[in-house]
Structures are given as structure tokens and as C-alpha cells.
């Protein structure tokens, strides 16, 4: 049987499959469906310094081969995540978890990360500087190399855990942002967050989403994500986590060939709650079909040597 394990910023994963932030809550609902320990890890819901109620409804729209969301980072706030969610998670998941963090100022990011740094089960901090659905924060840090670097430095100062900066595709040059994060000390990068998008309801002649715009994800964005991972892999030496539209074992292999060390699976979990277990169990056979004996060996394999 093929070797599925990979190493992400010094932490070994049994397989490269990581459910993506915002599509897996804090693990509780999925733990009722399947054994979470079959996953490489998972990235929990974007967590902020203070609780957030998120955007008005509707927050969800559909599109060909994908969906739009404008949830607006609804979450209970870092204190309740630590007090309630993490103790519960410890009972159903026995591996390092990825903590996804968002903020509206550099101090927000630093304070939230400093608190999460104290939590034993957290393996990596995934710092979201790419949320398109909140105003006055989120994505604005991820569209300017100087801001992205400033957030990276601030977070690195408060933690010894590996810091993965999560990037937005809504920029002209994603490699430049990636490089700025690497230079500022990031241990890894994850990309992509959603692509800004919108839909209009023909009957009401109004935007479907109450927020007007939202973020597109699902299979429709896979080629965009693949291109971004390809470009970033060429620009940096730190590991890249690839995500955007992954819904099959073939997609995982393609993303790893583009340069991903591990992958995250987002919207696919919403369409099919068993998407991740299905991908994990399909991997060995799919690897065999393409003559792959170890996933580690194919990372970046499509780039010219």
C-alpha cells in the first residue's frame, strides 16, 4: 500500500487531508458522523478576539459547480472556543488541530494567537488574512504585502507554534504576498480562500446575498487555486497547503503535484458530509493508478526540475 503520510511544518500527518476552516465547525457535528482521527488534521472555524454574530441572511448562494458564502466570521470568540470547544474536541480528536484565526487589527490577531498558543492540542496557527466577507479587516491585510508581513511578524512574536498565513486569490500578484509573509517569518502558507463573487435573483432583481458579495468556493475554483499554488510554490521555500475546490483523490494528487504539502477540503464537506473519508479511502487506489508509492515524493512534482 502507498505511503500517505506527509510532514507539515515539522508535524507529521497520517494523510494530507485537512477539512478547511468554516466547513467543519469545531469538529463536534462531524464527530457524530465519523471518527475524526482518520483525518490528517482539521482547521477549525475562523476565530476572533470577540464573539461575532456574522452577516444578515441570506448568507449562501449557489453557482455552477460551487457556492457563494458571506457568513461574516460568525464565531463564539476565542475565550469560549478555549473554554468550551477545545475541551470537547479533546474527547473526539486525538491529533494536533489547526487553529484558524481572523482579526480586524494587528492587535486582534496577536491577542487571539497569544491565547491559542497556550492550548496544547493546537498544532498550527492558520492566520486568515483573506476573508472577503467582513469589512474593515480580514482580506485587507492579505492584499498588501506590507500589511501581510506586519500581521505575520506580530503573530510570530506571540507564539512558538508554526504559523501558516492563509492567502486570498483576490490580488494581482499572490506570489508577492507569499514572499512577504515568508520574509516576515511565516512557517507555511495556505491558499486559496474564496474568490469574491456575487449572484442576482432574477425574480427580485436584487443580489441573492444580503452582503451583496460573497466568496466563491467549490470545484469551480479548483483551477484558480491550482494556479495560485503553482505560482507560490515557485516563489517560496516554506510549505504550501493547497485548497480550493478539492473534492476527489485525483484533485489531491493534482494539487500536490502543483506544490502542496497538504491539502484542505472545504465546500465539498457541505455537499457531502462524508467527502473527506471518501477521499482518504480512495487515495491508495488512485495513487496506485498513477504509479505513486509515496505522496511525499510528488510534492511540486509538476514543476520543471
Amino acid at each position: 500500500m502507498g505511503e500517505l503520510s506527509v510532514t507539515l511544518c515539522g508535524i507529521e500527518l497520517g494523510n494530507p487531508i485537512i477539512p478547511a476552516s468554516g466547513t467543519f465547525g469545531y469538529g463536534a457535528e462531524f464527530s457524530a458522523l465519523y471518527d475524526l482521527d482518520i483525518l490528517g488534521s482539521f482547521s477549525f472555524k475562523g476565530t476572533t478576539r470577540n464573539p461575532r454574530e456574522g452577516n444578515p441572511l441570506p448568507r449562501i448562494a449557489e453557482s455552477p459547480d460551487g457556492m457563494l458564502n458571506a457568513v461574516g466570521l460568525q464565531n463564539p470568540g476565542v475565550n469560549r472556543v478555549i473554554a468550551e470547544e477545545l475541551p470537547r474536541l479533546k474527547r473526539s480528536f486525538h491529533k494536533p488541530v489547526m487553529a484558524n484565526v481572523s482579526g480586524f487589527s494587528i492587535e486582534d490577531y496577536a491577542e487571539t494567537c497569544a491565547k491559542l498558543d497556550q492550548e496544547e492540542q493546537i498544532g498550527w496557527l492558520e492566520v486568515n488574512i483573506s476573508c472577503p466577507n467582513v469589512h474593515g479587516g480580514g482580506m485587507s491585510f492579505g492584499t498588501d504585502p506590507c500589511q501581510a508581513a506586519a500581521v505575520t511578524r506580530a503573530v510570530k512574536e506571540v507564539t512558538t507554534k508554526p504559523v501558516i498565513m492563509k492567502l486570498t486569490p483576490n490580488v494581482t500578484d499572490i506570489a508577492a504576498i507569499a514572499k512577504a509573509c515568508e520574509d516576515a517569518g511565516a512557517d507555511g502558507l495556505s491558499l486559496i480562500n474564496t474568490v469574491t463573487a456575487m449572484r442576482i435573483d432574477l425574480k427580485t432583481r436584487r443580489p441573492v446575498l444580503a452582503n451583496t458579495t460573497g466568496g466563491l468556493s467549490g470545484p469551480a475554483v479548483f483551477p484558480v487555486a491550482l494556479r495560485a499554488v503553482w505560482q507560490v510554490y515557485e516563489a517560496v521555500r516554506i510549505p504550501v497547503v493547497g485548497l480550493g475546490g478539492i473534492s476527489s483523490a485525483e484533485n489531491v494528487i493534482e494539487m500536490m503535484l502543483a506544490g502542496a504539502t497538504a491539502v484542505e477540503v472545504g465546500a465539498a464537506n457541505l455537499r457531502d458530509p462524508f467527502a473527506c473519508p471518501k477521499i482518504i479511502s480512495a487515495l491508495p487506489k488512485t495513487m496506485k493508478n498513477y504509479g505513486i508509492s509515496s505522496l511525499k515524493e510528488i510534492i511540486g512534482g509538476a514543476h520543471a526540475k
Binding site: G25, E29, P58, I60, D65, L270
Partner: protein, 243 residues
């Protein structure tokens, strides 16, 4: 700590369409046969995976038994049109056991079930459950236009009435409790004007339908609640009126 997490665990399995009955030019009743063991309460919903569409489509369970469940589907867009056109024998993946469902209110001796349009669907199973518990609810079905009316025959043996103005009819009906499902604006107006306690089921756009994406959250007196997981049925006292 939430204690209800294990109560409504969704179940994914393949169902076979065994009936596609035309109720009106816009509304069909579809029956799906398969493993219904996760359906526990009236007011719970299912979500159906459709070929070529990314998100599953949520529908209230109209009624169910050990072999099949029925849904009543209003044709409003691409997915519902596709469902109306399906022939018996087609198999589709369906998530069942979603949402909390109505709780039978033991103190209510004279409940009325109020349905707005297709919102009558989950009231069919609820009426049966109430009858099994020895309570005979009255049924009030609201339709803006008389020619859109359907569904009274689904409430076999109950005192069922159609209304164009739900509130006007409700006032004339002695009742001590309301179970309601229909358009949000109509239900909220009704509950605002009527003094009785109530439970009401909401319909909002959903991402997952099983509680993980926060696509459906609504503010209540007890904070943000997910319509798909903590609802779709809410008690009147949980609701915020400015919502």
C-alpha cells in the same frame, strides 16, 4: 455544553423515488423509499442531492413510516423543476434526520396547525403524531389566492379549513396553542398578533443543513442559533421580533 448533539444525527443513504403525484400545476408530492430510521419527529427535514447542482435541496418531511417518506415540493427554480420531472425508480442520495422537529406540547388541549402554502407539509406528520397522542388539532391552511389551494385531503379525518386571511380565521377558532410553518413574514405577523404559545418552523437558504457552516444562523433570545441544527422549529419565546 450542548446536550442535544447526538439527538439529530444526519444519515446519508440512497432513496428510490416511488411516487410523483401532481397536487397542483406548481406542487407535487414525492415519495422516497429507503432507510427512514433517522427520521424521528415531524418538522425535521431531508436534503436531496441532485445531479448537476452543487448544494443539496432541503425539504420538510411531510410524513413518514418505516419504509418511506413523502415531501411536498413547490416548483420555484432549477432543482425543484428537476425533481418534478423525475420518474419513479430514480435513485438519489438523501440526508435524513436533519433538524430538531416539533415537540408535542403536552399542556395543549386544543392546538391549531397553521400552514402557509407549501408550509402545510410538515403539519401532515405532526397531525398524525398528535392524534396518536390523543389530541385532535384543527388545521388552518392559508393561501393568498383561492385557486392555489391544495392539501386539505392530506389531513384525513381532521377539521381542516382554508383561509385567505389566516389571522381572521384563527381568531374565530378556539385554540390554546399554535404549530406553524410558512413564509417567515406571515408566521411572524400571526404570532405577533395571537396571544397563544407557539412553535414555528423556518425556511432559510442553507449551505450544509447539518450545523457546520453557519450559513443559516438566526439571532434568538438565547443568542445565535442555526436554523438547520438548533431549528428549523423554534418556540415563540425564543424569537426576537425585530429579526
Amino acid at each position: 455544553m450542548k446536550t442535544n448533539l447526538k439527538q439529530n444525527v444526519p444519515h446519508d443513504s440512497v432513496f428510490c423515488l416511488t411516487e410523483n403525484r401532481i397536487l397542483t400545476d406548481r406542487v407535487h408530492l414525492l415519495r422516497f423509499t429507503g432507510d427512514t430510521s433517522s427520521i424521528k419527529a415531524p418538522g425535521q427535514f431531508v436534503s436531496v442531492e441532485l445531479p448537476g447542482m452543487f448544494l443539496r435541496r432541503p425539504f420538510s418531511v411531510c410524513d413518514w413510516d418505516s419504509e418511506s417518506f413523502s415531501v411536498i415540493i413547490d416548483r420555484v427554480g432549477e432543482g425543484t423543476a428537476l425533481l418534478h420531472g423525475l420518474s419513479c425508480g430514480v435513485e438519489l442520495p438523501v440526508l435524513t434526520g436533519l433538524g430538531n422537529g416539533f415537540q408535542l406540547e403536552s399542556g395543549a388541549a386544543a392546538p391549531v396547525l397553521v400552514g402557509g402554502g407549501t408550509g402545510l407539509s410538515p403539519l401532515v406528520g405532526l397531525a398524525r403524531r398528535l392524534r396518536e397522542s390523543g389530541v385532535y388539532p384543527r388545521i388552518l391552511l392559508g393561501f393568498r389566492e383561492a385557486h392555489d389551494r391544495f392539501g386539505a385531503d392530506l389531513f384525513d379525518g381532521f377539521d381542516t379549513q382554508y383561509a385567505s386571511d389566516l389571522f381572521e380565521e384563527l381568531e374565530k377558532m378556539p385554540h390554546d396553542y399554535i404549530y406553524a410553518c410558512g413564509s417567515e413574514a406571515m408566521m411572524m405577523e400571526l404570532l405577533r398578533r395571537d396571544g397563544s404559545d407557539a412553535q414555528v418552523a423556518f425556511d432559510v437558504r442553507m449551505g450544509c443543513g447539518f450545523g457546520v457552516c453557519m450559513g443559516c444562523a438566526r439571532k434568538t433570545r438565547d443568542g445565535m442559533k442555526r436554523v438547520c441544527k438548533d431549528g428549523p422549529v423554534f418556540r415563540k419565546e425564543e424569537l426576537l421580533w425585530e429579526n
